[in-house]
Amino acid sequence: MTAMRVDVKVVMLGKESVGKTSLVERYVHHRFLVGPYQNTIGAAFVAKPIQVGEKVITLGIWDTAGSERYEAMSRIYYRGARAAIVCYDLTDSSSFQRARFWVKELQNCEEHCKIYLCGTKNDLIQEDRSLRKIDYHDAQDFAEEIGAQHFETSSKTGNNVDELFQKVAEDYNSTAFQYMTGKTKLAWLRLLQAACHIFTDSPGS
């Protein structure tokens, strides 16, 4: 077992097919998902070392299932995450509503988690401006309101992708010493246990 040491947990949140997996795939392997790839078995969890100044920080990127049927479980996923990339599709207004939902969830349950709002599929907009359903300024206003960073990316062209993850790593680096002492780890564990209890307390019929 060659488990890589991971410094920070980053969760990807967003509706199904907004392109969470493509974003990770583009960032980690510098490619866009078209056609078969034989050399990776899964893109659900990736550990990626990243250079920040003098230091190397390893991001552990957690992909999550975006389907609504797993909505109740998403809380277990972002437990302990220091950064959440909340994705929405620039050409799909319903995906932005879902993004609002996750932002609210994160604000309620995970106060130490920094939020990055990310509009995907920017290349489609570049080709045909009429496809845009989410106005840049609306999203920007929302991001400011919740104290989040805002990015518009394209996994197809790679536009803004590296910048997004670089920012995540830098922000972590600048705040890393404030958290993650032993006691917070323990506190986090308590929370995880509490989360498990929520789901296991009521026995099945």
Binding site: G42, I76, L189, C196, F199
Partner: protein, 509 residues
């Protein structure tokens, strides 16, 4: 009736005659019992106590010896520079007790084998009798387990030897902690968890600050510490009586059983089990998740989950020809959990969360898969009609067993060819079965045709012989066989005045 009475009586008489054999072997005058090795209940209890006492003493002696060995190992590892030239160790030769230890171990093994055999012996009654005769099968099992822990302790000591001074310090702390924990058995699970987690934290911090260990080496040490500590504590802290883990385990198990009808399509899993490579990976994933319960160290349990997940990823990749995302993975894991019904799922999840080194659980790959397993368990618990895209009525009918989605699509028609596809997709075995059935039915229809043809042939043959017969008869009737002598012959019947027949003559010359 009378005869059976006689037999009974003679039997009774027989028992009466052998009565002395039935008395307690200790000669206390009471009746003995075969189940108690011919002793009476009172003497048996005394005897049994004695054996058990001896066993406990043996165990103690062994534990003490091992501790001495561990300490000796330390003494030798640190006194190597000065004492290495004097071969005979002062206390005891290390070879002697070790070979005895080995011997005991093999004894232990053979005993375990006989226990296992007993479970498979044809009559359960004789098995239980044998067990009571030995009177110590269960202690032998627990002792076997303690041998495993001894092995772990040895490995731990070996590992720490390389660390010199910090190693000794760590060992001392671990031992002290274990002693401390043994006095805290009555605490609740959460308190125990807190103790262990605090211990991990303090130990890791100490190594960082006092011995200036790199974070990687500290992690390595902590893995070993976790292995040592948790192997020792496993029995008392896994599924403890103070929690309702066991009740939850049963609830989950029953829940999964009740959900046996959930198909791969309902969960939208992108795994095509008809591809042999995929179904192979599915089987491996199921094996791994079941194996989790057999491990004692939290990290080993996590490794089982990770292996299971990797197999699922392979299965999805083969099916879809592209790397799996979380949207594919979670449903597949849920499906695997439903199919495997892993033993003591809740207890294992709780045990891992309580006692695993948190740095692993929080961020790393193992942590990711473990989180997914937690989600799968939670999903199964909360699963309802909506989460399977079914109507509430349908869901109710499936849950109550009134209908089964697998059969309803092809109910009563499965021998026919048309409905095969719906069933085939669910399971390769079913598909094969279906295929065979199709072949069988086509064979039987062909056989019927052959039979028909044969029968008509037979009928033809019969009618042909009949018709021939008839024709012959007709002809016979038409032309009856009458022996009429021709007129010429008749006229000459007794005419003797014919010239004599010519006789050959020989002409000479």
């Amino acid at each position: 009736m009378i005869r059976s009475h006689c037999i009974l009586r003679t039997e009774r008489r027989g028992i009466h005659v052998d009565q002395s054999d039935l008395l307690c072997k200790k000669g206390c005058g009471y009746y003995g019992n075969a189940a108690w090795q011919g002793l009476c209940s009172k003497c048996w209890r005394e005897e049994y106590q004695r054996v058990r006492q001896k066993q406990i003493q043996d165990d103690w002696a062994l534990a003490e010896k091992l501790q001495r060995e561990e300490e000796a190992a330390y003494a030798s590892s640190h006194g190597v520079q000065t004492q290495s030239t004097t071969p005979p160790q002062p206390g005891h030769t290390s070879l002697g007790p070790f070979s005895k230890f080995e011997e005991k171990k093999t004894n232990e093994k053979t005993r375990k084998v006989t226990t296992v055999k007993k479970f498979f012996s044809p009559s359960s009654r004789t098995a239980s009798k044998k067990e009571t005769q030995e009177g110590k099968t269960s202690p032998s099992i627990s002792r076997h387990a303690s041998f495993d822990t001894d092995q772990v302790s040895k490995d731990f000591v070996e590992f720490l030897k390389n660390l010199q001074k910090p190693g000794r310090e760590i060992h001392k702390q671990c031992r002290a902690f274990l002693v401390n924990m043994s006095s805290k058995k009555d605490l609740g699970a959460d308190e125990l968890s807190e103790c262990v987690q605090d211990f991990y934290q303090n130990l890791a911090d100490r190594q960082m600050t006092h011995f200036k260990g790199s974070s990687e080496s500290v992690e390595q040490v902590m893995d070993q510490v976790e292995k040592y500590i948790m192997t020792r504590l496993y029995k008392s802290v896994f599924c403890p009586e103070t929690t309702d883990d066991e009740r939850k385990d049963l609830a989950t198990q029953n829940r999964i059983r009740a959900l046996h009808w959930v198909t791969i399509q309902m969960l939208c899993v992108s795994m095509d089990e008809e591809i042999p490579e995929v179904s192979e990976n599915v089987v491996k994933a199921i094996t791994d998740i079941i194996e989790m319960d057999s491990k004692r160290v939290p990290r080993d349990k996590l490794a089982c989950i990770t292996r299971c997940s990797k197999h699922i990823f392979s299965a999805i990749r083969i099916t879809k020809n592209e790397p799996a995302s979380a949207d594919d993975f979670l449903p597949a894991l849920i499906y695997i959990v439903l199919k495997a019904n892993p033993p003591r799922l809740q207890s294992n999840i709780q045990y891992i969360t309580r006692f695993c080194n948190p740095s692993r659980l929080m961020t790393g790959e193992d942590g990711y898969y473990f989180t997914n397993l937690c989600c799968a368990a939670a999903f199964i618990e909360k699963l309802d009609a909506q989460s399977l895209n079914l109507s509430p009525e349908e869901f109710e009918r499936y849950m109550s067993g009134q209908a089964s989605p697998r059969c309803s699509s092809a109910e009563g028609e499965w021998p026919h060819t048309g409905q095969g596809a719906g069933v085939a997709a669910t399971n390769p075995v079913l598909a094969q079965l279906n295929h065979n059935l199709e072949q069988l039915s086509s064979i039987s229809s062909r056989q019927e045709k052959v039979m028909e043809a044969a029968q008509s042939l037979q009928a033809d043959l019969l009618s042909w012989t009949e018709s021939v017969q008839r024709e012959v008869n007709d002809i016979l009737e038409k032309y009856p066989l009458t022996c009429t002598v021709s007129a010429i012959d008749a006229n000459n019947i007794d005419n003797d005045n014919l010239p004599p027949p010519l006789t050959p003559q020989v002409f000479a010359g």
